[in-house]
């Protein structure tokens, strides 16, 4: 719908808002639950065998459209991944839009279409939502909040408490693609790097049957350095990774060098870090590589006894350095 703009009235609760819901959201997300348009979605009853998992996240990415995705795709994938890494099968998602007055209607349609596509391919239903339109300047284009519910097998043993010395650390693919695609767009760099933004529920459900996985997390903001530190924090073990084994695209490396930033600290939106039993690691890795979102997976390190609570990185010359969480921002260097 070219040239149509989002008006304040779309968020007013009146006729225009209902039109928006029915003509755009309902048309895209339609199913037996959301079509009731109740204030909250009534979910089908759940079995005794499962735990319910519930998560929420808000998305404010700028630019809204970036190579490899947009805020809509990101908002659905992000919540699916948050559930998946907890070992849950994501089932239902809610979405709340905060839209700035004057936002292009056509762009909103594109965003919603991306959300629909992820919802369809993953089988995760978008079942409830909310829309607010704020005055121009009161929000930056569009913000989306999604919440998600999933179910988890009660027998699944996932948690830091199961991690032992000798366990392997696997990353599901190349790191830094998401943040570099965003930075490149902002700085008008010509690159072919696309965001890795992707739903990981299928990949995770495949590998979870393959061997003893102890812990999973998606290394989003702060990158794998931050996630690895979250894993070892206050634990009785450390992690040793090898830089040579960490998959990083050549172009990502180049842009990192130009800007003086470290790929270990770059955000990912379609990657999972896994800690698994040593003897199952090769089997899990093979299985991951069969999935399109895991084809560049690598074992990058292992759980070590010392130093406790720290992440060590072995450099190209065999020197070991401590890798801390992201502190402050990663500003491009100036010289």
């Amino acid at each position: 719908m070219k040239n149509k703009k989002i008006l304040l009235a779309y968020g007013s609760g009146g006729k225009l808002m209902h039109q928006l819901i029915e003509d755009l959201f309902l048309k895209n997300f339609n199913n037996e639950i959301i079509e009731k348009l109740d204030d909250s979605a009534s979910l089908p009853s759940l079995s005794e065998k499962f735990d319910i998992c519930f998560t929420t996240d808000s998305y404010t990415v700028d630019p809204v459209f970036f190579p490899g995705g947009d805020i809509g795709k990101l908002s659905v994938c992000g919540t699916i991944n948050d559930l998946s890494v907890c070992g849950a099968k994501p089932l239902f998602i809610s979405c709340s839009f905060i839209i700035e007055e004057g936002f292009d209607f056509e762009d909103l349609e594109k965003i919603v279409d991306s959300m629909r596509k992820v919802s369809e391919t993953t089988g995760v239903k978008i079942v409830t939502g909310d829309t607010k339109v704020v005055e121009k300047g009161k929000a930056d284009k569009i913000f989306i909040n999604t919440s998600g519910i999933g179910i988890k097998d009660k027998n699944l043993k996932l948690g830091k408490e199961y991690i032992e010395v000798g366990d392997k650390v696997i990353i599901s693919g190349t790191i830094g693609d998401h943040e570099i695609s965003i930075i490149s767009k902002r700085l008008n760099f010509e690159t072919e790097i696309e965001s890795d933004c992707a739903p990981l529920n299928k990949l995770i459900s495949e590998i979870i049957k393959e061997g003893e996985i102890k812990f999973m997390r998606d290394p989003t903001r702060g990158g794998i350095a931050t996630t690895l530190n979250e894993i070892v924090k206050e634990q009785n073990f450390g992690i040793l990774i090898e830089r040579r084994k960490i998959p990083v695209r050549e172009e990502v490396k180049s842009i990192c060098e130009i800007l003086g930033i470290d790929p270990l600290y770059l955000a990912n939106e379609g990657k999972v870090l896994i800690v698994c039993k040593n003897k199952d690691s090769e089997k899990i890795l093979r299985k991951m590589k069969e999935n399109e979102y895991g084809k560049n997976a690598q074992i990058i390190g292992e759980i070590v006894e010392e130093p406790k609570g720290k992440v060590l990185l072995e450099t190209e010359i065999g020197s070991k350095i401590v890798i801390d969480m992201l502190s402050g921002g990663q500003y491009p260097r100036i010289c």
Partner: protein, 363 residues
């Protein structure tokens, strides 16, 4: 930019390290090598180079982080500029968090002052062109790598007759600072010279160092093999008592005469003057200020601001660290009070600062 992996080849790196060990085998004194450039400091940390070198080779971090050597009085003045009505400060991200005597640009922004982070001087000029109602002051800091781009931007502003764009020049030159260090208390046996700066100025401006001070210099790149090979060349020169000179390891980027076009545009826009450095004081002919033709773009000439007396944290030893006299670990504040979330001095703020590099990699 290609061939990064080639310059990080583990096998070759280990061979160079072995060569370094075999050179120093019969050399009993300490060899102190200063890497002048902050990007080298960061790379040395990132590759863990300090840890694998023979014990008698010490790497000192020099004054090559532009944010770090910018004196506090500059920050205070930039903050004073930000108080003027309709002024928008455009700055590199690294400067944003540096504490001045009483505030920082980051704090000023949170109280509603107009401060924007840019990635290049051209971005700042474009902001000026798009915001005619604003007076945009670009905080022009950096060494010979940055100043040609600022000079080009000013020429553009001049040609396009942009009237609301100004720069606050804090530009500095590297070779005079190296000379100031050599005249001071620091003992240096070899210099790893900056790659990017030398791409502009060439190798000639360092030639006085081996000639007058008998110290070998190697200009090198920022990858693992670049840095290791530079260390090897310096060590070999010293251990074999060869005649010191300026060697260019970074041939893929640096020529003896440098980049003539860039040097010309710098010459056209800027003139050198005695400039104040944090920690090093006033160094003769080490700074760049605008030539008369460009005075209408000089924020210091156009805007009259009152700046209170500079007040530095007495315990912060950034100055001595910049001179290579001390390392971050010698500082009382390091890690305890001063960290990247709460930086006391600029060496912890800048991603290229010695304290930030130590904090990140040298635990």
């Amino acid at each position: 930019m290609k061939y990064i992996d080639e310059y990080r080849d583990s096998g070759l790196a280990k061979e160079i390290v072995e060569k370094i060990y075999s050179e120093v085998k019969n050399y009993n004194s300490e060899i102190k090598i200063m890497e002048v450039c902050g990007t080298h400091t960061m790379a040395i940390g990132k590759f863990g180079i300090r840890r694998i070198l023979p014990e008698n080779i010490k790497l000192l971090s020099g004054p090559g982080c532009p944010v770090c050597v910018t004196p506090q009085s500059y920050i205070d003045k930039a903050i004073a500029f930000s108080q003027i009505e309709n002024v928008k400060i455009a700055t590199f991200g690294d400067m944003f968090k540096v504490p001045g005597s009483y505030s920082s640009l980051e704090k000023e922004k949170s109280t509603g002052k107009d401060v924007e982070i840019v990635y290049s001087p051209m971005d700042a000029l474009n902001i000026a062109k798009e915001n005619k109602d604003k007076k945009v002051i670009f905080l022009a800091i950096g060494f010979e790598t940055t100043s040609p781009a600022v000079a080009m931007t000013l020429k553009n502003a001049y040609q396009e007759n942009v009237k609301n764009f100004f720069i606050f020049s804090g530009h500095k030159l590297i070779p005079p600072a190296m000379e100031a260090l050599l005249k001071g208390k620091v003992e240096i046996n070899g210099f790893i010279c900056p790659g990017h700066v030398s791409t502009i100025i060439g190798s000639e401006p360092y030639e006085f160092i081996p000639e007058n001070y008998g110290i070998p210099c190697v200009i090198t790149g920022f990858e693992l093999l670049d840095i290791l090979y530079a260390i090897y060349l310096i060590v070999r020169n010293i251990c074999r008592k060869e005649k010191p000179g300026v060697e260019i390891e970074y041939r893929r980027s640096v020529k003896r005469e440098g980049n003539l076009k860039a040097k010309m545009v710098m010459e056209e826009v800027f003139e050198v003057y005695d400039s104040k450095w944090r920690g090093l004081g006033i160094i003769p002919l080490s700074g760049l200020k605008l030539r008369e033709k460009f005075w209408e773009y000089d924020a210091e000439r156009v805007f009259d601001v009152k700046v209170n007396e500079t007040k530095e944290n007495e315990n912060c030893i950034c100055g001595e660290i910049l001179k290579g006299l001390k390392t971050p670990k010698d500082c009382k504040l390091y890690r305890k009070v001063c960290n990247p979330e709460n930086p006391v001095g600029p060496c912890m703020v800048s991603s290229e600062g010695a304290c930030a590099a130590y904090y990140k990699y040298e635990e």
